[in-house]
Symmetry: C2
């Protein structure tokens, strides 16, 4: 094994970090190194008091009047306005309200309607499964064709039949990141629209949708945005497409005048037409409070912290574990998200044995151990300790325990 | 004005009610008579502590492991099992997860796919607007035809072209209730399926879907089920249709093995295929706690209490206000839900003036004042007091204040 940074080096990096005070904004359990914020973000301390206030005061005391007095009607828009700077778009253009899957359903249909003469939707085969399931459902319904591209070269699948290129910015399994601007340009060169799934990038990786001239984006809020389990997704549509945007789940909250109770549907102006039903006020309130942790944080600082963590993890794994794992996450900064994924035949056992030791990563079938580095609350000391436990697991053959041959559902 | 029950009579009715202890399960503000539970149910006391526990312990401490240890994966099913007896169906056949609008979208598409040779969907023109908006969106996408029936005789619109008759069990504006069993039989006689929108009946009016042999039902949980603002809707599909049930928003939580991350979509067995995205854990937990108030309450007792309240309201309005209002809610028990709606040219002003006095009903355009009677927390004394304030509003011309000429959005 080669020389590598010590725990003291890691602690020194933490002390020098401009984000060092942010960890205190989260309620992390003692004795846990949490490297699964790419699946479920940790709990921001601001959430519980906000939910108590919303439940006791807005709902309990304000009752129905809170739709006006607490502006529940505008809550989704206000939350969207706070997500906007994290993805490089203007306030007023982000909708928040439904699950990621439902949101993707709406955007797949609406995007395909913007290119009626084209009937191919291109996806990469490594995308998160729900993206593919939704696209397949939409394709069957609208008589479109799904085309699975080469993940190493999505642009090669573009031609004059392609209505939409839908890519995941950061891959959920490998942590590899696409060049958002270059692939957006390639799609436009082919006359196609491009949709970015930002589930594994927003809140950890800078996203500059307007600079890249992207068309559509959808993202999750319960990973690096820490909105809580099953918190509602966001969607962004470039302003140039909003007037013609025609999403299929036409409901009263997407109506231009919901409380007129007209028989005919007239879509609201702008991104508001992405809404369908009554907004999920409790979940949106939790998310709103959770977003406080990003106040005053620049995306550049966030990115530097993320890369410093994943760099250290990669260096320590390389130095202390050598070839025990195949690193499937790109080492090149420009192609790396905020997680590192290690391939190992007993990856499931490795993850479970680490959890027993208080180091929480997760497993993705068939053989990937994932470690997410949420830069607002993961420290370099955490990284050092996690690798120490990983070494101990392998040295003690803890990952080979017989109980780890049966797998639990873990998201 | 004729003789009418006194406040002492009302209090005596409350003391004799088998539900008299239930009101204490709700955190109602002092000095408020809340007659808007048909729009947003009051806050059950069990919600706040449950949310605190879910946030602090399940999310904050359990983190990602709570998908297994707190069975977040099965939470929607467990909540559905608690709603099942309120709508007369078996546990295991109710899905809870998306907004009412999104849920209706799925059921409209899936229902129409069960009758591929028929292309007409029948709706009544007085339905809640979102039902019509969704149906219109589905019809446009799938090349179906919407047919608006005569609300007084929906069966007259049925013929061999009708795939689905979709009716609202209790009308949101008038409070009129359809004969669920008779109209279900009429739809089946015409070879059509029937879908019941139970938003304004579940939790206040007995619903017996299996007895009536209904096909599909969708309902809201933030009205008489008190799940909180924007809480997720439920859907029931008769077991005979579940194997062929083909809803369009195919996502990973509706997959038979979500965590295998297969490329191909294979729907889960049974009602579980209604799921799309990651379940909204906070909202489902709040709803789960809210449902405690129904533990041990029979639907017959609930119905008797509801009718006793609306009977008293109608009697007092008739006796003390004479012809000041047109009562648009049926007086016949078999055709009345759990609300009473009064028509008045200045209905908006009437509702606002009552709110000023602490009596909360709501207004529906253009001229309807609605009063909902949630039988678990509205008392006969509330009814007596509300009518007293109504008399005072009209006697003092409080409804004619100039500020009431501008209308706020109120759901």
């Amino acid at each position: 094994m080669t020389q590598h940074p010590t725990r003291a080096d890691a602690v020194a990096l933490d002390l020098a970090s401009p984000l060092r005070a942010r960890r205190e904004l989260f309620a992390l359990p003692d004795g846990v190194v949490y490297l699964d914020g790419n699946s479920l973000g940790a709990l921001p301390r601001a959430v519980a008091p906000r939910l108590q206030q919303v439940v006791a005061e807005e709902w309990g005391t304000g009752l129905i009047s809170s739709w006006n007095t607490a502006d529940w009607v505008g809550l989704g828009r206000r939350v969207g306005d706070r997500i906007a700077p994290l993805i490089g778009v203007a306030p007023g253009d982000v909708h928040v309200g439904d699950s990621t899957t439902v949101t993707l359903f709406k955007t797949f249909v609406a995007a395909s309607r913007l290119r009626p003469g084209r009937r191919v939707v291109v996806l990469e085969p490594t995308t998160f499964p729900t993206d593919g399931y939704v696209a397949a459902g939409v394709a069957r319904m609208l008589d479109l064709e799904l085309r699975w591209c080469d993940p190493a070269d999505p642009a090669a699948s573009l031609d004059e039949d392609v209505a939409l290129l839908s890519l995941t910015h950061v891959d959920f399994r490998s942590g590899a990141m696409y060049d958002l601007a270059a692939l957006t340009a390639a799609a436009h060169d082919a006359g196609a629209l491009v949709q970015w799934d930002l589930c594994h990038s927003t809140g950890a990786v800078p996203v500059a949708l307007l600079d890249a001239d992207a068309d559509i984006a959808v993202g999750c809020t319960y990973k690096y945005l820490n909105g809580g389990p099953g918190s509602p997704a966001f969607a962004w549509v470039h302003p140039r497409h909003q007037a013609a945007w025609d999403q299929p789940v036409t409901g009263w909250f997407g109506h231009s005048r919901p409380f007129d109770m007209d028989r005919a549907f007239t879509p609201a102006d702008g991104i508001a037409r992405m809404a369908s039903g009554t907004p999920p006020v409790l979940a949106l309130s939790a998310l709103d409070a959770a977003l406080d942790v990003f106040d005053g944080v620049s995306l550049d600082v966030l990115r530097a912290a993320s890369l410093s963590l994943t760099d250290l993890f990669l260096e320590l794994v390389n130095a202390r574990l050598g070839s025990a794992f195949e690193v499937i996450t790109p080492r090149e900064h420009g192609r790396r998200g905020s997680q590192v994924s290690l391939r190992h035949e007993q990856a499931y056992g490795v993850v479970q044995a680490l959890v027993e030791r208080g180091v929480v990563g997760d497993f993705r079938t068939p053989d990937v151990a994932r470690f997410g580095f949420a830069p607002l609350y993961v420290t370099h000391a955490d990284v050092f300790d996690a690798v120490g436990h990983l070494v101990a697991v392998l040295e003690g053959d803890e990952h080979l325990r017989p109980e780890y041959t049966v797998r639990n559902a873990v998201t």
